[in-house]
C-alpha cells in the first residue's frame, strides 16, 4: 500500500507541514514522554470507544461468521459436535454444520436466488439511473442558475425523510383503488386497478422508484460538495482553450473528481446492499420484494429462528460488501500510510 502511494501524495505534504524538518521529530519525542496523567487520558479517550466498537460491531461481525457454520435455533447451547445427518432438528441443535448452511441457501432455499437477483437489480438501478440523475442535478445546480437553492432544497428533501416514512408516503401514490397513479391513468375501478405494491411482477419496480427518488438526492448533494471543491481556475483554463461545457466536464472536471466518484460508487453499492426499510414497510419484504437483508432478519428475529442459516446469509452479505468497503478504505487511507 505504501509503496504505491509514495510518489503521489502532494496533499499529504500540505496536511502535515511539521513533517519536513527536525523540529517535528523533537516534538514527537516530547509527545512520547507523556506523564502518567497523559497516559490515563489516552487510555480513557481511546479505550472506551474502542471497547464499544469491538464489543458491539466487530465481535458481532465475527460472531456472525462463526454462527454461520452451525445449526442452531437460538435456544439451548452451542457445542462442538458435528451435526448428525437424518437426526431430528431438536436433537441436533447447536451442532457444527460446516458449509451446509451455505449449500442449503444456494440449492434449496427458494428465496435466496430471487433475493440476490433483487439486490443486483437494486444496484443496477442505482448505478444506471439514480447516480447519473443525481450527478446531472448537481452539475446543473452548480451552474448557478436562478432558483438553484430552491431546486436543491426540493431535490434533497427526500433524503431527510426516513425510508420507513418514504414507504408510507408513496403508498398514497401507489394505492390500488384510490392512489394517485391509478386515478390519473383511469384505472381506479375495482376490476382494472393495477396493484402496484401487491403484484410481484410490479412491486419491485415500484419500490425502486421510491428508492431512486431518495438516492438521486443523496448522490446530488455528495457530488455538489465535490464540485464546489474543484478549483475554478481549471474550468476557466479549459474555457480559454476553447473547450465547450461538455468537453470541459468530461475531460477536466470529471477526472479531477476521482475521489468523490469513488465515494459515490461506494455509497451506491453499500446503500443497495443495505436496502431494507422500504421493502419491509411496504409488505414485510415478501411476495416479490425479497432482499438478502430481509432474509437475514426474518431468519434470526421472529418465529423461525434459524440462527445458523440466517448468519450464513449475513456472511454472504458481508463478503459482498467487503468489496466496496476495501476500495473505500484503500482510497481514503493510502495517503496517510506514508511515514
Amino acid at each position: 500500500m505504501s509503496a504505491t502511494s509514495q510518489g503521489r501524495t502532494p496533499a499529504a505534504v500540505s496536511d502535515k507541514p511539521e513533517d519536513s524538518t527536525s523540529p517535528a521529530r523533537r516534538r514527537r519525542r516530547r509527545l512520547r514522554t507523556m506523564t502518567v496523567r497523559d497516559r490515563i487520558v489516552v487510555a480513557v479517550l481511546l479505550g472506551i470507544p474502542l471497547l464499544l466498537d469491538l464489543a458491539f460491531v466487530w465481535f458481532p461481525a465475527i460472531g456472525t461468521v462463526l454462527l454461520s457454520f452451525t445449526k442452531w435455533n437460538g435456544v439451548g447451547s452451542l457445542h462442538e459436535k458435528t451435526c448428525q445427518p437424518n437426526m431430528p432438528s431438536i436433537l441436533n441443535n447447536g451442532c457444527w454444520y460446516g458449509v451446509q448452511n451455505y449449500h442449503q441457501a444456494a440449492t434449496i432455499y427458494p428465496e435466496f436466488w430471487p433475493a440476490v437477483r433483487h439486490n443486483l437489480l437494486w444496484l443496477a438501478v442505482f448505478v444506471v439511473i439514480a447516480t447519473p440523475l443525481g450527478m446531472l442535478f448537481a452539475v446543473l445546480l452548480d451552474r448557478g442558475l436562478r432558483g438553484t437553492r430552491v431546486y436543491q432544497s426540493l431535490l434533497f428533501l427526500p433524503v431527510m425523510l426516513s425510508l420507513a416514512l418514504i414507504g408510507i408516503i408513496w403508498e398514497f401514490v401507489y394505492s390500488q383503488n384510490y392512489g394517485l397513479i391509478n386515478t390519473v391513468i383511469g384505472r381506479n375501478g375495482n376490476s382494472n386497478a393495477i396493484d402496484w405494491l401487491g403484484n410481484p411482477h410490479l412491486n419491485l419496480w415500484a419500490v425502486l422508484l421510491e428508492a431512486t427518488w431518495r438516492q438521486a438526492g443523496y448522490v446530488m448533494i455528495l457530488y455538489l460538495a465535490g464540485l464546489k471543491a474543484v478549483d475554478p481556475t481549471l474550468r476557466e483554463a479549459a474555457m480559454m482553450d476553447g473547450a465547450n461545457p461538455w468537453q470541459t466536464f468530461w475531460r477536466v472536471i470529471f477526472p479531477v473528481m476521482k475521489p468523490i466518484n469513488i465515494v459515490i460508487m461506494v455509497v451506491t453499492v453499500i446503500e443497495s446492499l443495505r436496502a431494507f426499510d422500504l421493502v419491509y414497510i411496504t409488505n414485510k419484504g415478501i411476495n416479490g420484494l425479497e432482499l438478502l437483508s430481509v432474509l437475514v432478519t426474518s431468519n434470526i428475529v421472529g418465529e423461525t429462528q434459524r440462527v445458523g442459516f440466517g448468519s450464513a446469509l449475513g456472511v454472504v452479505l458481508l463478503v459482498i460488501s467487503l468489496v466496496p468497503i476495501t476500495i473505500f478504505l484503500y482510497q481514503a487511507f493510502r495517503r496517510e500510510d506514508t511515514p
Partner: protein
C-alpha cells in the same frame, strides 16, 4: 449547446466571464425546465401525502384521494396526535437521539484526537477499524447482537425490561457504536488540518494532554461538530432497523418505527396515517431547514477527503 448557440443573442450575463464563455440561452432554458420538472416530481409525493392529511376521511371516502377539496381540516393531525400516543413515541425518540448524538460526538472527538495528535503506533489500523465498522450492513452484525442484547442484564433504573434488549439504553449503545466510525473518520480529517504550531505553543505553556484536547482541539472543531450533530440527529432519529430488531413491539420504540404499528392500527383511515407521517417528518425537516448550509458543509466534510 450546439453550434446554433453561437448565433443567439446574448440574453443574460454568463456566470464565467472571458472569451470562452458563450451565451448559452438554450442550454439555460433547457436546464431550468429540466430542474423545474424534476423539482415538481420530487415534491409531488410529499405534497400529495400532505393533501391527504388535511382532508377529512369522509371526503376522501366519498370522492377518492385524488379529487377537488371540499373541506380542509387539521382534525386529522389532532386525531393522529391524540389517538396514537404520538407524544409518547416522540419522547422516546428524544430519549434515544439526544444522548446518542452527544455521546457519539464526545467519544469520537476523543478517539480522533488521540489518533491524530498522539503518536499511537497503530493509528491508521485503528482508524480503519472504526471506519470499516460503520460501513458494514446492519444485518451483518444483527444476529449475535440480538443474542448479546438478550444476555446482558441491566439494572432496573436503566431499563425496566432488565435487559439490553428492548431498552432505550440498548438502542443508544448500538447507535453510538455504529456511528462512531463515521464521526472518527470525519473528525480526524478535520483535526489533521489544525496547524501543529498551536500544539507546540500549548506544550510550551505546559498544557497537559487533556487540556490540549478539551481546551484547544474541541473548540476548534466546533464547525465539524455542528455539522456532524445535524447529520447524526437525522440518522439516529430516522433509524428503523435497530428499533424493530432490538425492541419487541413495545411502547419503547421511537416514532419512526412506531409508525409501522400505527399503519396497522389506522388501516381503515389513511388520512390519519398521512397526518401521522407528516407529524413524524417534522423534526428532521426543521433540522434540515434551519441548518441546511451546515448540513451540506457536513456532507462535504465527510466526502471531500475520501
Amino acid at each position: 449547446m450546439s453550434s446554433e448557440t453561437l448565433t443567439r443573442p446574448r440574453a443574460e450575463a454568463p456566470r464565467v466571464g472571458g472569451p470562452g464563455a458563450k451565451p448559452r440561452l438554450r442550454g439555460q432554458i433547457a436546464s431550468q425546465a429540466f430542474l423545474i420538472i424534476a423539482s415538481v416530481l420530487w415534491i409531488l409525493p410529499i405534497l400529495f401525502a400532505l393533501y391527504v392529511a388535511v382532508r377529512p376521511y369522509s371526503d376522501t371516502r366519498k370522492y377518492g384521494y385524488v379529487s377537488m377539496p371540499h373541506h380542509l381540516t387539521f382534525q386529522n393531525f389532532r386525531d393522529a396526535w391524540s389517538q396514537s400516543d404520538m407524544a409518547h413515541f416522540f419522547w422516546n425518540s428524544v430519549l434515544i437521539t439526544v444522548p446518542a448524538v452527544v455521546i457519539v460526538l464526545a467519544l469520537a472527538s476523543g478517539v480522533a484526537f488521540v489518533l491524530v495528535r498522539v503518536n499511537v503506533k497503530v493509528n491508521v489500523a485503528l482508524l480503519i477499524l472504526f471506519t470499516a465498522g460503520n460501513l458494514l450492513p446492519q444485518q451483518v452484525i444483527i444476529t449475535p447482537l440480538y443474542r448479546i442484547y438478550l444476555k446482558i442484564p441491566l439494572p432496573h433504573f436503566l431499563a425496566d425490561s432488565g435487559l439490553m434488549y428492548n431498552s432505550i439504553f440498548g438502542l443508544i449503545v448500538v447507535n453510538v457504536s455504529f456511528q462512531l466510525g463515521f464521526c472518527v473518520f470525519v473528525l480526524s480529517n478535520y483535526m489533521r488540518s489544525i496547524p501543529g504550531e498551536m500544539y507546540e505553543a500549548a506544550l510550551v505553556d505546559g498544557a497537559g494532554l487533556w487540556t490540549r484536547f478539551w481546551r484547544l482541539t474541541v473548540p476548534l472543531c466546533r464547525p465539524a461538530l455542528a455539522a456532524l450533530a445535524t447529520l447524526l440527529t437525522t440518522w439516529i432519529y430516522n433509524d428503523f432497523f435497530w428499533a424493530i430488531t432490538l425492541m419487541s413491539s413495545g411502547d419503547k420504540r421511537p416514532v419512526t418505527s412506531a409508525l409501522a404499528n400505527l399503519q396497522g392500527q389506522f388501516v381503515s383511515n389513511q388520512n390519519l396515517i398521512a397526518a401521522a407521517a407528516m407529524i413524524a417528518a417534522i423534526p428532521t425537516l426543521v433540522v434540515y431547514l434551519c441548518l441546511q448550509r451546515q448540513f451540506i458543509a457536513g456532507l462535504s466534510l465527510g466526502s471531500s477527503k475520501g
